[in-house]
Amino acid sequence: MGVLALDELSIAYGADTVVRGLTLEVAEGELVSLLGPSGAGKTSVLKAVAGLLAPAGGDVRIDGCSVRGLPPEKRSAVMVFQKPLLFPFMNVAQNIGFGLRMQAVAPAEARRRIRDILELTRLTGFEGRRVHEISGGQQQRVALARALVLKPAILLLDEPLSSLDANLRQQMRELLQDIQSETRVTTLLVTHDQSEALMLSHRIGLLLDGRLRQVGTPHDLFHRPADRAVAEFFGGCNFLTGRLQGGLFACEIGSFPAPGVVANGHRLTAAIRPEDILVGGDCDHPIPGRVRRTRFEGAATRLWVDCGPVRLVVLTPRGDLLPGQPVCLRLPAEKIRIFPPG
């Protein structure tokens, strides 16, 4: 069990600062995902926590004590890389026992812990297998077991599911969730996959252009993005620009009540998710439009609707609409997210 605190952490490659001012806390037993596009420096953040990379600035604190200057082998944070990196000259049990041997744990105790962790990662019976004899998913589980068996204070996972195919990913996701809730190991996970972050994390930190844009629960980030960049990251949002006039948000397609927003006169951006726009039905301020394009996506249909100067993307369960058809859209005021200016 451990508490991780990143304090104004910055990472640089030579003269290039890729991450700056990263302040994030991971509470005991929590799984926090650091989400961001590939190449944003997320793996470097993980390496800085693990001690494999020296940060350009800031501090890393585990359980309140700064670990800057402490070599990786002395830190109680263990990192699991994107590739399993299982030692090919050892079998599964020996791989898992590697860290225990480094800590000079007694053989009997080590055997017991290895047995327990094999059960937890559903690898019982694989002890004697050689690394090349097991599948990719199994290798990933062995890599995870190898880290967990050490009962680290902090578990660092670098894109743990990205090297797996789609089916395996789902199984591993569930396994990770089960393991994390059972062991309650404090975990910092790094990924570029939004759905992975949304499904696994207690909280998400979104890293864009080297800065932490928003930290919050998956629900917060998805439904209440802090700014346009965050909303764009989760994709698919419709954006409207307008001004606040007399308590209403006036944009190209109409005026909507905007309670609580104070920015009179400023140009503002608002966002509404495609699935929050309603098609048809009675409403006070219907927005007329014409369907341009439809795309059947199974449980819902995606519509591209031209409403005057604006094209809105709508995700609706209705499957009866065709291109060229006129429709009436409703934008519920509570689903419109208006971003503060600046």
Partner: protein, 261 residues
């Protein structure tokens, strides 16, 4: 079936020249145009193992000692050098690789003659240590190049992972790096051993005739014209080399090729 046939052909092609050696070693009288010896006998072996026994033992011991020490030192130098060359980029790297190549490009006689003067001044001429040093000048470049190749394909992440799991630097070297590069180390050691084992000119020059190794003994006997004896000594010369090759066969080539043998 095809594998067996192919294997047989390869084995035959390699072993056929040795067949001639074996025939000579066990012959008593063999003159042209006969295809096989007129008379078989053990005279050659009686000479080699009996009369010349002391000389043979001395030559054999020196050869094994020098080749083994050369192989060990060659690998000891080759591994760190290969690691630096394979993993890092630095100014002058190209120049360094040319300098390392020089002992191979420059004729060995020139290298040996050049080193002779220096070794004389260091009072290492006509000593086993001097012979090892001159053999090293030929073997070390090979070891460095083999390990350079190995480290060019080396994934440093393995070491990072080991460190994150609690391994100290020494543990990383001993428990991760060396096992991972072991096949390459075996190849480098084998190259060095075989190269040192077969050295003639350099040993003669630096040894000054005082250090007796198997190749020197062999050449002397060849000069005497006594073919059965030369053949017998050749067989003694070849067997340790074949043994070294057999021991390291596991690490050479693909698994499929090994399946043929």
């Amino acid at each position: 079936m095809k594998r067996l046939l192919f294997g047989g052909m390869v084995a035959g092609a390699v072993l056929l020249p040795f067949l001639a050696l074996v025939l000579w070693a066990f012959s008593q009288r063999w003159f042209y145009p006969r295809l096989l010896p007129e008379q078989w006998g053990l005279r050659a072996w009686q000479y080699v193992l009996g009369t010349a026994g002391t000389q043979m033992t001395e030559a054999f011991t020196h050869s094994v000692l020098v080749a083994t020490v050369t192989a060990v030192l060659s690998v000891a130098g080759g591994v760190p050098a290969g690691r630096v060359l394979g993993l890092y980029h630095f100014r002058g790297k190209d120049l360094l690789s040319i300098v390392l190549m020089l002992p191979i490009i420059v004729p060995p006689l020139c290298v040996a003659m050049g080193l002779h003067l220096w070794l004389l001044q260091l009072e290492l001429a006509a000593t086993l240590a001097g012979v090892v040093l001159v053999h090293l000048s030929a073997c070390l470049p090979y070891a460095v190049f083999v390990m350079w190749g190995v480290f060019s394909n080396y994934n440093l992440d393995f070491e990072d992972q080991a460190r994150s799991l609690g391994a100290s630097t020494l543990s990383v070297i001993w428990r991760v790096m060396l096992p991972l590069t072991f096949p390459g180390i075996v190849v480098a050691a084998l190259f060095s051993f075989l190269l040192s084992w077969s050295q003639y000119l350099s040993t003669l020059l630096i040894g000054g005739g005082k250090i007796l190794t198997l190749p020197i003994l062999l050449f002397a006997l060849m000069g005497s014209g006594d073919r059965p004896v030369a053949a017998a000594v050749s067989i003694v010369f070849v067997i340790p080399a074949l043994a070294a090759l057999a021991m390291s066969a596991r690490y050479l080539g693909s698994r499929r090729m090994l399946g043929v043998w």
